[in-house]
Amino acid sequence: MRALDLKLLRDLWRMRGQAFAIAVVIGAAMATFVMAMGVHHSLTQTRDAYYDRNQFADIFVSLSRAPRSIVDRVAALDGVAAAEGRIEQFATLELPGRIEPARAIINSVRDGGVSKLNRLVLLRGRGPFSDKAGEVVIDKAFAEANGFDIGSHLDAVIYGRRSKLEVVGIGLAPDYIWSIAPGELVPDASRFGIFWMGEKALQGISGRTGAINALSLKMERGASEHEIIRRLDAVVAPYGGTGAVGRKDQLSNAFLTSELDQLEAMTKVIPPIFLLVSTFLVYVVLGRMIRTEREEIGLLKAFGYSSAAVGGHYLKFAFAIALMGIVLGSSVGWWMGRSMTGQYAEYYRFPFLYYQVSASVFSSGAALAIGSAAIGALGGVRTAIALAPAVAMAPPPPPIYHAGPVERLGEKAGLSAVGNMIVRHIARWPGRSAVTVSGVALSLGLLFAVLQFIDGSRAMLDNYFFRAQRQDITVSFIEPRNEKILTELASMPGVIRVEPSRAVPAILRHGQRSERVAIESADRDNRLTARVDANGFEVPLPTAGLMLSLPLAKQLDLSPGDRVEVRLLGGRQTDMTMTVASTIDELIGTRAYARSDTLFRLTRDAAPVGSAQLLIDPAYRNEIITDLANMPEVLGVTERDTAMALFQQIIDENIMSMMGFYISFASAIAVGVVYNSARILFSERAHELATLRVLGYFRSEVGIVLLGEVALLVVLAVPVGCLTGYWLAQLMVSMFSSDLFRLPFAPERSSYGIAIVVILLAAAATALIVARRVARLDMVRVLKARD
């Protein structure tokens, strides 16, 4: 081994603490990068393979009822490669030992579970025979959540008719990777199942012989989705088509895409923070190293080593640290990604889940890590290259202090001599002090921004469940009902108040832009549900015209006062122009609202009640739920408290488990920064600290000189960190927002507190480790050695 490389190894060993602290920060960058990119790639590849193998459709449309022959007409449209029609039928399930009704959506399949598109994957058992009434394949998550297996029987009410179902297979399909019961906010596999039943059997039960109510199709390569949707809508319009959507708006795919987008956003925000800090640290540590090794550099050059060789030596030092971080971060990131992928498998149902981190993820992460180490090393390496041998071999000039503003300030403030030592040293090395402050501030900011995610989720929970929803139970109906149903519900014992609501599918068009939405309505004297904006304020429905959620208004480029073309879908298709009366800054979805009298003037139908909100006496809860479940017209019964608990559970499980990672990573930054700045400080001031000991200062008093400076910088970092966190949290909130929902920026004060305490503790513990060196300070040796 060459002597210079041997020196490199020994330097690394000698400075192992500092090198390791930097490597940990680089490792955190690498780990978050590998994790997020790895999971992103794995999920994308799994999804693509799944979609491809199982012929996931490109365009989807629901209808009221159409003859099966419509499938051939659609298949014949220009640009359509294949089309498939099926029946989708909701069913209410009676699960033993359970009062709350569960629901399932039953999809028709041909004999043996075959279909052209959105093909069923049978994990176990067999597909249902087409004409065998009651044979179903059920989805894996529902089966597991309820303990069903092949051969299990369950009772269902389908289209008002009680049927006995037999489970013949357990399966999955690409159009239900993610699923949620209509009207629910949170997926619940135990209460919502995806079933597949033979076509003839389902036609028989649902009274749709020879008919279908859902269509999907695959496009030819290069065909225009927009154009096909336009033609498809025209074909299905007479059959109550509710507006075709592409994959982008297909529920399951939309959620999965939003998740993938969030992962991608994460790689853009979090690893760069770690990389930035590691660049700072390399800059500071290598800079200090080169200053202390001036004489060695001079000697090497005097012996004939070229400047490039000397510069390369220090660059290698930085790369060696980066390499440590890369190895560390890659393995941690790989492992974290695997556990995160496992978590995804609970919410996203894939028949297989590849967890594979491609070499390109590792290599691009490594390139970023090496790049940031190189940038950090640049300043120091340039100094090493520029040092002339003769200059380098003379000791460096002592730090020069002048009576500057800081000195005068210290005098005015009546600082003690030790106080002045601390303050002036900070001012003497502003760059390094700034690195310490900004590093600690970034770690605090990162931690706060992550904590804010929990606050945001809680705020959303509060906003949605406590402010917007005041009902105990939401009842949805298989088909819209007339107002008689309200009287019927109100007469049930224990029901205190009943309010109707409705959602009518529509396409809103403004210029070239169009969006498919559901216009939701409520009565004027409605009290159980409210439209609540991101700040928690209730926004009233306009007396006339539409109220649009802000994201929808933006997508359509609409402001209050503008006119928008509205096409009501399903049943009679009515076109009209309406005024946008107001907008609402909402957190969930892209929605449109109107008062029920406004909507009624448009629909003019006899059945304006799509669902009902109930306020009940809790004492009667079980009876009411049982009665509702037995009403043939009832499709679903949602209890607000159950949904809220589920939502809370998801926050707790997912976010909390990620919190562990982020608390440790954010602390890693603080530890890395504080450790390095304290070590540098100690080596720079060892001579002064020993002098103080000689003069009669106790160890604790000398420790104050060391810790005081670190403490002061960390304290300075706190407000900077809070500001950084405030800004970072907003950036993350905006990057993580999707069409589906948006986390509010609603930090709790305690989150600032928690972030501050965690970072202060990490910093204090680290500084104390270095301060132990004060106790071991050998006064005699330090004073003998000239600095």
């Binding site: 002592p398 730090p399 020069i400 202090y401 002048h402 009576a403 000195e407 003690s416 001599a417 030790v418 002045n420 030592m421 002036r424 040293h425 003497r428 001579h687 002064e688 002098t691 103080l692 000991r693 000689v694 003069l695 009669g696 200062y697 106790f698 160890r699 008093e701 006064m779 005699v780 004073l783 000239r786």
Partner: protein
């Protein structure tokens, strides 16, 4: 008051330090270095003592042990009635704080503090210090109080170090090559201030030097060789520092 004792013969004064069989062994790597090999000594209060000898003869080790910076491997050492060899680290620190003023060859000033603040570093923690300005006046640096070490010459820096050492009115001044880095004119000025402290404050002055000429200002000289005091010379006719030449 202290001036009264200055003219008495050294033997008649009370002992400041008494040492018995002091040994110091350093282990560096696999070799043992015997820095002190059984030193007995008595240092008198208020005397000027010069430690002479070649490098590695043990004089710095002894000075460090006397000053409470280091401990002997074996043997006992008293300062007046206190057994220094029995003190723990905090008590040794207290001892230094109360009694010892150090002056080093390379000044060891804190570069971020002005001359006056360097002195304050000591007066901040002393019981009955003189005002820093007064200490600086004693070394003739009143005009340079607000200067930082980098703005002072070597001799001025060493005089700040002297002011810092005498400001707490220590019982003992320990000087390790105080003039080693200075030219002779500056060196003499520094020695004058040290001699003044000895005569005006009654401070015991112990000086390490390679410079035999400085011995002329002392009451006694300990000649070191191989970790032992080879001989002790008593100087009945002290030359004032201003009269030294080398």
């Amino acid at each position: 008051m202290p001036a009264l004792t200055a003219n008495k013969p050294p033997e008649s004064r009370a002992a400041a330090f008494t040492g018995h069989a002091l040994r110091k062994t350093y282990i560096t790597g696999e070799t043992e270095v015997h820095a002190l090999r059984g030193v007995d000594l008595e240092i008198h209060a208020g005397e000027v003592l010069v430690l002479l000898g070649p490098s590695g003869s043990g004089k710095s080790t002894l000075l460090n042990i006397i000053g409470g910076l280091d401990r002997p491997t074996a043997g006992q050492l008293w300062y007046q009635d206190t057994e220094l060899t029995a003190l723990d680290d905090p008590d040794l620190t207290r001892f230094r704080r109360a009694n010892i003023g150090f002056i080093f060859q390379f000044y060891n000033l804190i570069p971020s503090l002005t001359a006056e603040e360097n002195v304050r570093l000591v007066t901040d923690i002393s019981d009955d210090p003189m005002p820093p300005a007064e200490a600086l006046e004693l070394v003739g640096l009143s005009q340079r109080r607000q200067h930082f070490p980098a703005q002072l010459s070597g001799g001025e820096q060493q005089r700040v170090a002297v002011a810092r050492a005498i400001a707490k009115r220590p019982g003992v001044l320990l000087c390790d090559e105080p003039t080693g880095a200075l030219d002779s004119v500056t060196g003499v000025k520094v020695l004058e201030t040290l001699a003044n402290a000895n005569s005006e404050l009654g401070t015991t002055l112990i000086l390490i030097t390679h410079n035999a000429g400085i011995a002329a200002m002392s009451d006694r000289v300990f000649n070191f060789l191989d970790g032992q005091i080879a001989s002790i010379e008593v100087n009945p006719h002290r030359v004032p520092a201003s009269g030294l030449v080398w």
